[in-house]
């Protein structure tokens, strides 16, 4: 049954904090960083007014924010934090430990460029520098998706078949600071969807455990394998939970989303809010008779290999847009992943990569038409570069 719908206009950051409120987060530790601040400011006022029964810990750094979250989650509380850019980078050490300890913390990352030079504006270089942290990582495209996934992330993270920290990415400013219409949920529906947290392990004086023991070489590889398997196997429960949400709300989500890919010979790929711009470009090119479609990766970790291969079946040219660089390397992170996913196939498309929209650089629909034309020409003459940076002067 589809739940009651009411559309409310609000800033996406407020919608995300409302989702965290509906999820009844019990502990929040955060440190201010633009453009994540509106989320935690709103949460702290919910706590201050008694509208959310939680502890808000205004820590002295992001490193301590995630560390405090580990303490909260290990003690058995439903735990949330949000950060951006330098904040995520400062957490880096603890990100790996959080997932290795299998603590079901949910974090919003308001994606922003990494310094330097300092830039507060949007790209994906923060989360791409944290690609291998062993968390579930989801990308959202608009405010509604950010709201939906912020609720679902708790259910995914805490599922006893999963038990894994989860990041929901949304583009800084482009999403966090815009007002959109959101279909919100009522508390009873969310309560039915998301039951109380049952910690898999917790710090309990009645049943003491040791968390964070160290491993000698004889056990370290086994610990890593257990983590790898758990993250890979979270795929099934994630889909199941998204399906349940779809039945509840009418909003269905897939690990790899497609737009007008029927009969498409050319596929444009990306993650995040840029997809909405690309959709307009695809419409325009389709009007011109160019057989182009759009593929968006929603589930970045665990990487949905089979879904991606299915979405790209039949394509002859794939144009991958990265919003991050792998400096000195062969490809941006999404390009590298797509290429290695497609490489084992006997029949595979040409795959070219473009880094676009760094540090808040605007990307208009026309850009995608330009990229497609450029890629077609490059394929014809043989690619002149490993990858390209779009729109750079000089």
């Amino acid at each position: 049954m589809i739940a009651h719908k009411k559309r409310v206009g609000m800033e996406v950051s407020i919608a995300v904090s409302h989702a965290v409120q509906l999820a009844r987060a019990e502990a929040i530790a955060a440190y201010p960083i633009t453009p994540q601040t509106h989320i935690v400011e709103h949460l702290s006022s919910l706590v201050a007014n008694g509208d959310l029964e939680a502890e808000f810990i205004p820590v002295e750094s992001e490193h301590s924010a995630l560390s405090a979250c580990i303490g909260c989650s290990a003690a058995g509380a439903r735990t949330y934090t949000a950060t951006s850019s330098q904040g995520l980078a400062l957490m880096n050490e603890i990100l790996f430990i959080t997932s290795a300890m299998r603590l079901p913390i949910v974090m919003t990352v308001a994606n922003r460029a990494l310094s330097g030079p300092l830039s507060i504006w949007n790209d994906h270089s923060d989360i791409m520098a944290a690609r291998d942290i062993g968390w579930i990582q989801i990308f959202t495209e608009n405010g509604q998706e950010a709201f939906d996934h912020s609720v679902m992330a708790f259910k995914i993270a805490e599922d006893h078949r999963v038990v894994m920290p989860t990041i929901v990415n949304l583009d800084g400013f482009i999403l966090t600071h815009v007002v959109e219409a959101h279909e919100l949920m009522d508390q009873e529906t969310v309560d039915r969807f998301l039951p109380e947290l049952k910690p898999y392990h917790k710090l309990d004086i009645h049943q003491p455990v040791t968390m964070g023991a160290f491993a000698m070489p004889e056990l370290f590889t086994e610990c890593k394998m257990a983590h790898q398997e758990a993250l890979t196997n979270s795929y099934g429960p994630i889909l199941e939970i998204w399906q349940e949400w779809g039945e509840l709300t009418g909003r269905h989500y897939k690990p790899v989303e497609t737009y007008r890919t029927e009969g498409a010979k050319i596929i444009i790929m990306m993650m995040g809010s840029l997809a909405e711009v690309a959709e307009a470009a695809v419409d325009a090119m389709r009007d011109q008779g160019i057989p182009v479609g759009l593929v968006k990766i929603r589930l970045w970790r665990p990487f949905p290999f089979a879904d991606l291969r299915a979405a790209l079946a039949g394509a002859e040219l794939v144009v991958v847009c990265d919003r991050a660089l792998s400096l000195g390397g062969a490809a941006g992170p999404v390009l590298a992943e797509v290429r290695s996913a497609m490489y084992p196939l006997a029949v595979k498309p040409q795959i070219l990569g473009y880094t676009v929209g760094l540090g808040g650089r605007d990307v208009q629909p026309e850009a995608f038409e330009e990229l497609v034309r450029h890629a077609q020409a490059e394929v014809k003459q043989g690619p002149s570069q490993e990858f390209y940076i779009y729109g750079v002067r000089g």
């Binding site: 299998r102 898999y200 392990h201 455990v209 040791t210 968390m211 491993a215 398997e229 758990a230």
Partner: protein
């Protein structure tokens, strides 16, 4: 974990590497490190328990008569000898 720890498979690793048996280190016999051991002269021991207090290993236990002696964990550091109030403890080279 009853299995030898270098035989444990990845499937047997507890979620998050959590150890669920508090104090399981007791299975490790640190007494093997010892090259000499403290020996008590019971005629001079006043059963005060200072030796038990100052042992970093909790490696000294009390017997039924109230006297103290090392248990399996004594690493042979000799602090008990130095701190004994009556000087009734001596270090003796361990015979292997």
């Amino acid at each position: 974990m009853s299995k030898a720890w270098d035989q444990v498979t990845w499937q047997e690793i507890e979620i998050g590497g959590v150890l669920t048996e508090p104090g399981s280190a007791r299975a490790y016999n640190t007494g093997d490190w010892r090259s000499s051991r403290p020996v008590w002269d019971k005629t001079r021991c006043i059963k005060c328990g200072v030796c038990w207090t100052v042992c970093p290993e909790a490696g000294i236990s009390e017997d039924a008569d109230g006297y103290f002696d090392i248990n399996t964990y004594c690493k042979g550091c000799g602090i008990c000898v130095k701190e004994c109030v009556t000087g009734c403890i001596k270090m003796v080279v361990e015979e292997s």
